[in-house]
Symmetry: D2
Subunit: 305 residues, 4 copies
């Protein structure tokens, strides 16, 4: 019976780990704030979940170690020292990093692990908390095709669509570009609706047209009707993290000398919005910053106050 | 039996007029290149369609005059002189301008017509040639609600979704913003796929992920798979016209002093692409210009040469 | 003895009119707030200056009428009605508009005046209050070369450098582009110094290097050392007016379909800064907005608090 | 008698080394293409200049080692191996890197050298070939103040203005920002003149005004009159290198999370221009690319064809 370790019990990681707990494999969990790992292990103790005291202990004997953190640097910091992952990982094991990471760090991680006979995949996920809960995440993978086949059953515990993107780092790159497009479309739609609102058009009417026309996007079809027009702005995915993702996409473009004026401008605007709105703001709250810059409020005229 | 005139038998106007021909109303058509109007009238003679020799003759006695040209200026040029629309339009008639026009000209047209007791609606359409053929266009209307009710039956001959956006000019504004978003998303997706292609990711694989994730848009879901990856680039809607639409959206933003850095950058990039690719290029061919700037080709690795 | 009228006694117009008062020509002045014209006429009464009750009265019998307002629209509003300029201007007279205007309005003004046999020159000035006081302004002129020769003595009363730029509107265009570059360099230098300040470099040291190197500009050589590092930010030229000028430059570019991504981005940034900082802010205070966006203060480390 | 080594005999490095040769210090030179070092040593043999066979040999016994290459990575590649700089550098020596480098690599270099008791300064120069020939370069230095004092006599052999900018990396940062501003102003002035040329203004007339007004910069005062209007475009500093410098400035901004939309857009435009114009193009030839994008030629109307 294979053994799997999961490190990083955040908003996405926790439901992912829950799906792994429900398999026949032995699951060990570790979290920086150890209370969260203790709670998780207690809750799923009858499924055989245990808490590891250190990353090394989590990795020891594991066939697959899955990490899910905010940034690649968080994973890199867990490698070294007597309690680090490298002290526990066995030759032949695989580290699957589900962090929305950056390709440069992923390549560095892969090289260090390869030197020890450990496989590495960058495997960021999309689908959000909802997709993680329902086990229907999309997993974008950079790395070796054979390694992917080895760990596929584990990925399928939480992922519905498993996509091999290319060499190490390409999973990160695809995730970053997807999120860069999300950020860009969120901003562009806010600009468009600010203009129309200022011109006297009810943004609900404008969205009704756009969403049956050629200007529609995921942002216009889902985020604006549900979160902006309603002024609900639920906090599901932090602006700080989307800012980080756009920055990775922008950085990947620069490293390859690919001119991307629109993506780079998006990176600047999100940096500024992130600074203005703070660490707690949701990504959709960037619309509030557009409203402030433009002196508008993108609110349905029919909406009750 | 009401009488309707249709001026401007272009790629979109011709199928729109065809739907009107099939009603019980008398239809007169006029076109700058008169051969096209003659052909149309001949083809639908048994439905009672006749060709008007001049805009004035087309308008004379018509309850509704519908215009469909490339730019608002084309309509404005038809107003004056003994053969002009103003010489034919009767008090109580309505001019419905289905041109993807600009609000400033539309407001000027409306004011001139109002002084003569003629109604005016800016009523650009979306849905393309396919929507025009099937009579399922979306019609975005700026103008008076009562006037819209008067002409609704005529609009429903070719439009499925009739949306009142606000005062005169708002139909144009909504259309321009929608098309501005189309232009923006077309470019942003090209940038993202150029980066990923350069990073070694098959753009077909990247699109497969993006189109089930948060970065998707009409451009990524329809235009890239069908027209770019296949290298088909069919010519359905000219880049020159999309450039014009983005320019109108950018202008509306400026007139209202709404900062829109992303939309304005899009206007610049399309101006440059239009200049580089010429008048005949299709709007999706802007992707070829992105490819040239970035030194990439966004082509599926599996595509046969 | 020729007669001259001056309309618009603002910060720049007043010292310009003073230079005209000191010539042998008869000078009539008019100002929207009439108290200011009354004060001026009283102060220079012994030089023969009189106050005109209306624009028509100012223009009546004048060989040259000079206007100096905030925007072209201000001049256009003075034309019509029984008290308007057109009611007073005689065939053969010349209207010299020293407003930092826009080419489109200037062309419209020129056409209306030409129909009455009145000459028109757009003749914005640069040099600021200091140059106006010392009579050393640069005058950029659009219009007919012969007309310029006719009015040259009047222009030389306050201008040191009289430059014929081309046809009507080109004086405005050159002024707008010059100010657009000022705005752009002010912002770019603020960005550069924000980056260096954040990297731990004293901005005074950075400017010392830049101002002997290739990155220097009028902004870096004069505005930053005197106004920003000192935190003096004197109010000499309103941000609102510079925003307007950048907007004119951006508009001229768009009308001619000249892609200018950097200029257009500048227009957006100044629109946003203008909205954020309000009507009273000086143009150099845009640096404060850059500081806010970047979380920096561009202040010499040696400056006393 | 102190001993100095100079590595990197390029267009700037060669005249710098010549100034060092004329001092009383012993000078050893090394160059990747060894023929150039051989020629130099032969030419200045009577001044005691010798050629070193390897970087290690150049560094052995030297009090100061000066490097001057295209990019920081060129220096980093010379460190290791039996022939590398680290094999020759003695405890107490100082490496002065006059490359227009990047702060990140400079910090890495400094850390590696510090571990061996070797000092490090990033000390890029400005003033071009002319300043290097005349020994009047500006030297921007990042590093320890005491170390700077130790090597000051060597720097004064070729530098007139020696500026301590701050900690290691700040010399690079200041140089990159200065060159970023040069790039930005070169582009902005090209945009402005393209607009005015298209509006019918002679760019020589426009520059005459701008250069006595607030829109002037080093680019407008020197580069445009001497190199663009004349169509001379001499090749003095490669576009590829300026593109690299703008990229460093943009990267420094990103690393510190300082929003810099104008600088980042400049980086994109230069990347695209560099790709379009190739490796041999001079930096001022970027104007040719602006001309191509805008369909203009920025040429004095009086210039003979």
């Amino acid at each position: 019976m294979p053994s799997v370790a999961f490190l990083g019990l955040g908003a996405i990681g926790t439901p992912m780990a829950r799906h792994l707990a429900r398999t026949d494999w032995g699951l060990r969990v570790w979290n920086r704030t150890s209370a969260r790992a203790a709670d998780f292990a207690a809750k799923y103790a009858e499924l055989g979940v245990t808490q590891a005291a250190t990353p090394a202990a989590a990795a020891r004997g594991a066939d697959v170690v899955i990490t899910c953190f905010a940034v690649s640097g968080d994973v890199e910091m867990l490698l070294d020292g007597p309690d680090g992952l490298l002290a526990g990982l066995a030759r032949g094991a695989t580290l699957v990093d589900c962090t929305s990471g950056d390709p440069t760090t992923s390549k560095r991680l892969a090289a260090r692990l390869a030197a020890m006979g450990v496989g590495y995949l960058d495997a960021p996920v999309s689908g959000g908390v909802v997709g993680a809960e329902s086990g229907t995440l999309t997993v974008m993978i950079g790395g070796d095709a054979n390694t992917i086949e080895t760990v596929r059953p584990f990925l399928e515990a939480f992922g519905k669509k498993i996509v091999h993107c290319g060499a190490v780092g390409t999973g990160d790159a695809v995730k970053a570009v997807n999120n860069g497009l999300l950020a860009l479309h969120l901003w562009s739609t806010a600009e468009g609706l600010a203009v129309l609102t200022s011109a006297g058009v009810d943004p609900a009417v404008a969205l009704d047209v756009i969403n049956t026309s050629s200007g529609r996007s995921n942002a216009s079809m889902n985020l604006f009707p549900e979160r902006v027009l309603t002024r609900a702005f639920p906090r599901t995915f932090r602006l700080a993290l989307l800012d980080k993702d756009v920055g990775i996409a922008a950085q990947v473009a620069r490293e390859q000398k690919i001119p991307t004026p629109m993506l780079q401008l998006t990176a600047e605007l999100y940096q500024a919005a992130h600074r203005a709105l703070g660490e707690a703001a949701d990504h959709v709250e960037v619309v509030k910053w557009v409203e402030q810059l433009t002196g508008t409020v993108i609110k349905s005229q029919d909406a009750s106050p």
